[in-house]
Subunit: 346 residues, 3 copies
């Protein structure tokens, strides 16, 4: 795949930017990254894991990013670094065509309210809409077709891709990355039930996102009922995630795709929720909790560790037999206890 | 968080609008709602639950909305009402800045087909698109960037937030509230399989939403294959919900976030589906059924009540041991029965 | 529901287009399709399933599409065909008002970069945005408000409905159908963890969709980290589906609503994933695998067949008792084995 405007660097430039030790010809021009097996002479590969060292022998890359202790096995130029996976992360950003693209200014088709406060070098794409009272920090990018509602505030260097929706009264920190289709600040789900029908509770709180938050495609973070929904610093949220009103998520936590968190639940710092995990409402999950994919958590968790629920997949024929027995499980347990008692008495 | 255009009321005005009994100074100006612990002198708090009465003593609110029987414990002005939670719902709507904002008319960048029928005081936001043959009732609001497909019809006082998609031939009742990113009327998922490949079945039905329906951010309601997909009156649908073609949902039912309902299933009136619940296709769920979060329902339900499936979360170490045994459950049941038989014979 | 621009055909025309044998008056005008019970004299119904033959007697349809062996039971005109369900699929496409609508050209409010390569009869709707370097094949339709990022390429006769997002560097084959709210090419979820925080791995791969791919409302397919995410030919993806970076899906596979597939997993050809199914990352699922609704697959599958996990729904009271026992399952299994041993020794 060729990208428009993909940047290029010499190996010397890359070594400087990464703080890596270069062994090889620094004038070689590098146009991208690839896997060890597929990298060609104008690409850099990396070895972040001992199990890939065997692939070094046949490597045709322009250079390989690796730990100094694996340098001897490398038949081509190399960039030595104590943490090659972190080096890969930094390198990947250097080659991101989105970050490399020139700043576009404010497109004439964008609809920007008169009183909007714009930082330096702000870009607003075609057909984007920015309502009254909004503040955009320096180098904020608002993608085509995106919407920012009245009174919202977006910190320096934050980037909204195309077709993002930020509702009114939302506060977003610095360096946020919001992917297409995500919605920040839709109403939380709150109703009073009376006289056989639902009466809406207007959601008067907002959403506050810390610095360095990423939100994936088609994810939604609902606004609070009275207080705000609060997402900490460096929280990473994948695609198709739903975060309900008044949830609070601690710094550095990561939520994989399709996670759903019900209202008012608090997730600690440095937590990791696997894909499709569901957390019930009004829970407290302490710092350092990991929950494996598609588990349901209905009680608060007070000890760090790894948690799971559910059953593994098996053939449908086998599953049908076992799933029927699940409905008899309490009965089985009672019968087992009865047998044990008789056995002891006998 | 401060909103633009947040409305203000005196306590006398609020008492009148709620039909509440005011005890205290009616001239006090109120600018918002807050929790009992955080409300200041220009905010109203509420007590909807006996367990919060203990917090009344330290309350600094401008007034508290509560049941008359708790009035004596309130150290500040109070609004007495038989159902304070319902009163909170009504009060919250009075302070909703979205509802309080002035009507914006039809923005010059909106693309509205010539034959569109517009009710009184319709608002169409910037860059919205309204196709031919559409009818919009009185006081309908179409948010920025929203799309309404050919021939669709939207009832009085319905509100589409920014970036909502209503496809062609969709009928929406009065007072609907559609949140950003939701899609009403995308194709249902139907194919004939022949010759080793799929042949699309065009989805010729529509979607009909009753009155007072709310649809959350990024939710989707697919159009029917031949007949319509039908959502009853006062049905409340949270974010990230998927409703497949030809589903029918009865009046006053509520679906929490991430619910998925497969094709042609009928859900009764006054049902409540917890977050992440899945209903298989072609089922009938009777009135008054509640399903707890992340349960899978594969058979019709004919008795009102609460239903569940799945297993609760535990430590991963504990879970691994138990989940392995789940695969042996049928075998365990047979061995248990054999032991019982031998025990009786012995 | 009446659609604008619904096409009409005589029975003779329909018989020709379907390759069906017509028995009856070929001059009758047909305006649509309906179920056997509801079809009127200007509509065609169909019998694809033996169990509906009993309904033929009271049928008022203008004609019925059925297998020749059921012809004698049909009281009205009939269209005989060896595979009536496939005939229904073809017929439904003839009546699709979307396909029948005239081509709209490039709307003056669309923002199309100067260097975009446009095939013949391309339609670009109002307020759509097409960035630099994009190529659109013949008869491509880009719906209102949709976005196509720099350097993307879309094959002949592909159709993007309103408010679709195709990010930069995405390759889409011929005859794709992308529904509103879907996002193709948002970033995959990749970070290096170092120094107590996350470091983003820029997602430099793209997304490649084969020919005849359908993607439902609000679904997301993330771009690859280095290599592309690849969706085969004739893959059908329902609404609210999440496909993570570097996933590969084989030809003719079908994914129902709310499926989530984690990174780098490979799904074979002719697979069918039920609603809400979750696949863990880095798995290989062979050709011809079916997974039933809401199952979690955490291991690779090497044999074609039907697979399941989870437990069926029951009353909450019953479930609570059994779910508690699930946590004791390993203990129960050990106790059972002990009893058996004692029984054999005794």
């Amino acid at each position: 795949m060729t990208h428009p405007a993909t940047p290029q660097y010499t190996l010397t430039e890359l070594a400087e930017r990464l703080g890596a030790q270069l062994i090889g010809d620094g004038s070689r021009r590098i146009r991208g990254l690839a896997t060890l097996k597929e990298a060609g002479p104008d690409q850099v590969a990396f070895v972040a894991n001992r199990s890939y060292i065997k692939d070094l022998a046949n490597c045709r890359a322009g250079a390989v990013l690796l730990h100094p202790e694996h340098g001897a096995a490398c038949p081509v130029a190399r960039l030595e670094l104590a943490n090659p996976y972190l080096g890969y992360a930094h390198l990947s950003q250097l080659f991101d065509p989105i970050l490399a693209a020139p700043v576009g200014g404010i497109h004439p088709t964008a609809v920007v309210a008169e009183d909007v406060v714009l930082g330096a070098r702000v870009e607003i794409g075609p057909n984007a809409v920015v309502e009254a009272g909004v503040e955009l920090g320096d180098e904020v990018v608002v993608g085509a077709g995106s919407f920012i509602g009245a009174g919202s505030c977006i910190g320096d260097q934050s980037r909204l891709h195309a077709n993002v929706t930020v509702c009114h009264g939302v506060i977003i920190g610095k360096r946020a990355l919001l992917h297409s289709g995500c919605v920040i600040g839709g109403d939380g789900f709150g109703f009073a039930h009376d006289g056989g029908r639902w009466h809406k509770i207007a959601q008067l709180g907002g959403v506050v996102l810390g610095d360095d938050v990423e939100v994936g495609s088609c994810s939604s973070i609902d606004r609070g009922a009275l207080d705000d929904t609060v997402i900490g610093n460096d929280v990473k949220i994948d695609s198709q995630v739903q975060i309900a009103h008044n949830v609070r998520i601690g710094d550095h936590s990561a939520l994989a795709g399709c996670v759903g968190i019900a209202g008012s639940t608090r997730v600690g710092k440095n937590c990791m929720l696997g894909g499709g995990v569901g957390l019930s409402g009004h829970l407290t999950i302490c710092d350092g909790v990991q929950v494996t994919g598609m588990s349901l958590v209905t009680n608060s968790i007070h000890e760090p560790g790894v948690y799971s629920s559910g059953t593994g997949a098996m053939s449908n024929a086998q599953w049908r037999k076992n799933a029927v027995r699940f409905k008899q499980l309490d009965d089985m347990a009672r019968r087992l206890a009865r047998l044990e008692k008789r056995d002891q008495q006998g």
